[in-house]
């Protein structure tokens, strides 16, 4: 019975996320800790598995459409996996109150990003010949479905991108999320990628970043297998269903629902961090 409830919760979260073109992973830890009363460390391990499952299943479509810049991804992963490794070190050290508080902050950040439309900032056409992006041959192109043309693009500040990815990896390991909330703005603003390429590349990187910490949890026996199983399954199916339903639902209304849920969860996570018990739950 609990397996079915876990499956349904993960399915719902991923469905909603999928309809908005983003991962529902940010909901998993709050749902598990607040609704299922699961210890936050255990919830993080479960969420990491869900994040990997969503990243891999989502990547299939992006890769088939040749939107992903895999070279850029692997370059940035040197930083994000290092961040994840740092996070793995810190897991035993940071307090659970800190984790709840950090989670509340990330939820609010996600809510803010949902409300502000993404802006495409193009990197300079004549970027320096000795820029990291040029030396590493990261500038590329992507096929635009609408026009049928292949559109070239330049990649911006790689060193700054690396610093941001380190942070994203650290947060991913600490909170069990994909850190798309940090990666996507980093790719849009610092790396100056076209929106579709940034979404595709961020989604691609999330799996590797999450695996760096998930494998540590797995080897230590810290993943609750009987909870992670239904959650992973629900996440994959929900994400796939959400992506298909994307076209039928008005994204504006969904955005508002998403923001309301994010803010509500942020408040509850904040209360848990500070020990405030509004509903007298013991």
């Amino acid at each position: 019975m609990e397996a079915f409830l876990l499956f349904s919760a993960a399915f719902g979260a991923s469905l909603l996320g999928g309809m908005l073109g983003m991962a529902g992973g940010i909901f998993i830890v709050p749902i598990l800790t607040l609704l299922f009363d699961i210890n936050i460390h255990t919830a993080i391990g479960i969420s990491l598995v869900s994040v990997i499952a969503c990243s891999c299943s989502g990547a299939i479509t992006f890769l088939k459409n040749h939107l992903t810049n895999i070279r850029l991804a692997i370059v940035l992963e040197t930083a994000s996996t290092l961040g994840a490794l740092t996070g793995v070190f810190l897991i035993g050290i940071v307090s659970t109150a800190f984790l709840y508080g950090l989670f509340a902050f990330i939820l609010l950040l996600s809510a803010k990003q949902m409300l502000v439309p993404r802006q495409e900032i193009k990197a300079e056409e004549n970027s320096a010949a000795n820029s990291w992006a040029t030396s590493l041959k990261l500038h590329a192109s992507y096929p635009d479905q609408a026009s049928g043309k292949t559109i070239p693009y330049h990649v911006g500040h790689v060193p700054f991108g690396l610093v941001l990815m380190y942070g994203a990896g650290l947060i991913s390991a600490l909170l069990g999320i994909g850190s798309g909330v940090l990666k996507i703005p980093a790719m849009d603003a610092a790396l100056r990628l076209p929106i579709k390429v940034s979404s595709a590349t961020s989604n691609f990187m999330i799996g590797v970043t999450a695996t760096a910490s998930a494998s540590a949890y797995f080897m230590r026996g810290d993943i609750d297998i009987m909870a992670a199983g239904p959650v992973a399954l629900g996440s994959v199916i929900g994400a796939l269903a959400g992506a298909r339903l994307l076209i039928w639902f008005p994204s504006e209304k969904l955005r508002i629902i998403f923001v309301i849920i994010l803010v509500a969860l942020a408040c509850q996570m904040f209360f848990t961090a500070t020990g405030i018990d509004l509903f007298n739950r013991s």
Binding site: A53, C56, L63, K64, S141, G229
Partner: protein, 104 residues
């Protein structure tokens, strides 16, 4: 500005296939494991190690291994293409993941 060329597109295709088969395999193993556990009170299979818990665990392991395998695929590709810079970059990512996995 370099165009990735068909080699890169082939790599995209291989990685997409890895994720497709891996996602199916992981999902089926997890579903089978959950099903076995659900019917265990009524009907159980007498093969050692073939338990619902083990099957589910294997399914989860498949998901965790997929991104690692993807990095290995990329490493192999860059070595074949004689691209030492990217081969080293891929190797660094792989080593970081391994250190993170086994660090105590």
């Amino acid at each position: 500005m370099e165009h990735p060329g068909t080699n890169e597109e082939r790599l995209h295709h291989h990685i997409a296939r890895l994720f497709l088969y891996g996602t199916w395999l992981g999902s089926i193993l997890i579903a089978a494991g959950l099903l076995l556990n659900a019917i265990a009170p009524v009907y159980s299979i007498n093969i050692p190690l073939l338990t619902g818990d083990n099957l589910t665990k294997l399914g989860i392991a498949v998901f965790i291994l997929m991104p690692i395998t993807r990095v290995l695929l990329m490493l192999g590709n860059f070595l074949r293409q004689r691209d030492p810079v990217y081969a080293v970059i891929s190797a660094i990512v792989l080593i970081t993941i391994l250190v993170s996995t086994f660090i105590r």
